[in-house]
Symmetry: C2
Subunit: 473 residues, 2 copies
């Protein structure tokens, strides 16, 4: 039995803590929100300071050549019904760092979370990792403010590495973007410089906060999703349940997370399913000037479609006032409407199984990634009253209240996406739900998904967002 | 305990078989060789039938638009000492299929191997998988002869899937090329149409053949490398050793393959090592016309460098005569000289550990893949008498005879590479060899490597070639 995995499980099942009790969190967030004044005003792309629209390509880029660009891509694929399209995309080739410092208090792992301001945030501040930094920040290539607590992630301070994975961002919006997700542990006796924007929470506490809309940011969710809690035989599990007793659903979910034996599909068949799809379908992506992107136009200082679908690239002026005033302009992605991300789960052999979708998105690193049962980042899924264009969406939207395990709005990353939120749901279906599914769906236990997450570019960010919110208490 | 893994282990430790005894193999290969007349003549690229040099790009392509093209790429990276270069590369975006049919005889898995002719082969025929097919062959998109035994791989015949993985080809020669590696099992009572080019061998028999030069082709080696034999505790292993007794080295290697507990680096730290390297180093690859490739020229009907380094693109006329005569022209890659692929292994805690190298190659799918300790595909590694430009090569080349576990010449794929062979070695070092290694090297057990192989694009084809030859008997 792996000690670290047990430590993670103990933290995940600790849903309140005397170090920073749940009862104090709302006030702390409100205080952090009140301590700043954030103004975000839409502005025409062409007027942004330090950003330029290239005359020949119409691509958007920063004067420094850094940060990110908005460009076009041209896609060719034999997947799905549309075999060719062009679209704008964010190109940010640098790998960013999302990192937590963890430390044991009273023997339980706590994570140092930050109340962080991002211009696109709903609620102004959201709970974020200890460190969010680009490689340039991290390696201090450019001058500029050194990120707080950097020394725990760059080798200056000796730490115990708990997790270090490469994970993808939204394939429909970013061109092959990935982040490095890290958790480092420091000794319990080590004091860390305190700061009013940072508090220590258990994994269980953070998961509780995800039951509420738009409190925990995407970067936190992706790092937590990578945590696995080990694989055990049924016998060993009996011992663990003494540790974490609970109702039927908790038990089904724990079995799904920890039990390696009762899966409907064995792992070899899951790898084969992925192999078969990657061998059968192509994704050819060519970078093109945004000028050549079809059906998208520069209009009223934005880049958008005539039919208003998908998203609009807007310019914003951001101004943040607390002790000092910081102000800048930047492009952001504004979604056409809210989306829906949902897993259907079904008990099979006494273990929850997730209906996982293989999904091709233009910016994917390796053709397909594994997505939730339903993933509509922008929700044009209703074709009429009770008619939907997306498989399984009806089962999700018409699910009776008592079969909904989770239902909350969660935000996309507030540094690039303007008030973009998606409805995150996990819905249980009963044993009348067919086990037979079409080629691009597959039943998996949570244990199997967590085994895949460890390797890069297997589970997409939507699936990881839902997984992060799964509670074991 | 997983039954399949035990079946694989039984087959791997069965080094002779009454179904097709080792003593008959040399004659069978000689007969297959004698049954054909293969003529391969070098010819100028511009005279090849059905191939064309594009006037504006100077790229080489087939008249049908199919097969593969020879193009240029331009590389930009912060890895190593050369940050920019251009080179010719083979672009073959279709995923090929490499498949074995397996069947139990006397309770032991045997694999249906083929004596296959490839134009680039040393020894004319080499032992190959049951099926080697491109996706076009496989899906019968083009007309043309249906590959033999295809029905066992395309769902027409019901089979038991034993392995199905996506694996990479040479990153220095192919642009992100991958193959689907498959093993399917049929029922022992099922009779298969026999053919004089095909025989049934155990994994152990095939591994024995790899001790000889250029008998077992690359496609066979890559499929076999993906087989894992399970993970066991030290106690369970005791039982297995009754099954496969053997000398000290066999035991060290079996512990390395099967023991999950005694690794020098835990798996989390290995994933972190890969994450760190992929987060730190960039590989930007742009396709360019071969006309723009610097230092490479069209000369005497070939594409080559003035200094003769690396390789030459040549044209060949192939003619194969047995019952009928088949003849075609095609481009091939002719290496400048033989290369060297070698793993250094060292016992740590009673388990062999492999010194694995993270290596960036231009055609890699994901920046780096894991390579042998020493990988010089073309061997310009000698800078003077006893002076070498490549880390650890001296330890390999000056290894005393009794520390060499394996040493044989093995061929690259004979459909694209003209008589290209590399020296494959595994060399044992003792406990005076330093455990501390530089950033791009890492000690791993065979079990850990086999765990990574299951996921695509972790271990490169050179590492897999060496792994395939490891014998447990």
């Amino acid at each position: 039995m792996n000690n670290l995995e047990i430590e993670f499980l103990k933290s995940a099942t600790t849903i309140d803590s005397s170090i920073f009790p749940n009862s104090k969190i709302p006030n702390w967030i409100q205080d952090r929100r009140d301590a700043v004044r954030v103004l975000v005003k839409e502005m025409p792309l062409e007027n942004m300071r330090q950003w330029k629209i290239d005359e020949s390509t119409r691509n958007l880029k920063h004067d420094s050549g850094g940060f990110f660009t908005i460009e076009g891509i041209k896609i060719r694929t034999n997947w799905g019904q549309v075999s060719n399209w062009t679209q704008p995309i964010i190109n940010q080739p640098e790998i960013g760092f999302l990192g937590f410092i963890a430390k044991k208090f009273d023997g339980i792992l706590h994570f140092l979370v930050q109340a962080k301001i991002e211009p696109g945030n709903i609620n102004t501040v959201q709970i974020s990792p200890t460190l969010q930094a680009t490689r340039s920040n991290y390696s201090q290539l450019h001058k500029g403010k050194r990120p707080r607590y950097l020394e725990y992630f760059n080798g200056e301070v000796s730490v115990n590495l708990l997790l270090d994975q490469l994970q993808s961002e939204q394939g429909a919006r970013f061109l092959r973007k990935r982040n490095r997700n890290i958790i480092v542990e420091i000794e319990p006796e080590r004091e860390i410089e305190s700061n009013e924007d940072f508090i220590w929470l258990t994994i269980g506490q953070i998961k509780q906060l995800m039951r509420h809309d738009n409190i925990v940011n995407m970067d936190t969710r992706t790092v937590l999703s990578g945590i696995s809690y080990g694989s055990y035989s049924a016998d060993t599990l009996e011992g663990l349940f003494v540790l974490v007793p609970g109702p039927r659903r908790t038990r089904l979910m724990l079995e799904s997370a920890l039990n390696r034996e009762c899966a409907f599909n064995n792992f070899r068949n899951i790898v084969s399913w992925i192999t078969r799809i990657k061998s059968t379908y192509d994704l050819f992506v060519e970078r093109i000037p945004i000028r050549q992107v079809e059906q998208w136009f520069e209009r009223n200082g934005t880049i958008c479609r005539d039919d208003g679908k998908y998203f609009t690239v807007i310019g914003v002026n951001v101004s943040i006032e607390n002790r000092e005033i910081v102000s800048w302009d930047q492009p952001m992605i504004k979604p056409a409407q809210e989306g829906l991300l949902a897993f259907i789960v079904r008990p099979i052999n006494g273990v929850y199984h997730f209906l996982v979708q293989a999904k091709l998105e233009a910016g994917n690193f390796d053709i397909i990634e594994l997505a939730p049962t339903v993933q509509c980042l922008t929700g044009n899924y209703r074709t009429g009253k009770n008619e939907y264009s997306v498989p399984y969406i009806k089962e999700v939207l018409s699910a009776p209240q008592d079969s909904i395990l989770m239902d909350a709005m969660q935000s996309e990353e507030g540094g690039r996406f303007f008030k973009e939120q998606n409805r995150n749901m996990i819905v249980e279906v009963d044993e009348s739900f067919p086990l037979e599914v079409s080629e691009n769906y597959c039943w998996m236990t949570l244990n199997q998904m967590l085994r895949l997450i460890e390797f890069n570019n297997y589970l997409n960010i939507s699936a990881r967002s839902l997984i992060s919110a799964i509670s074991f208490a």
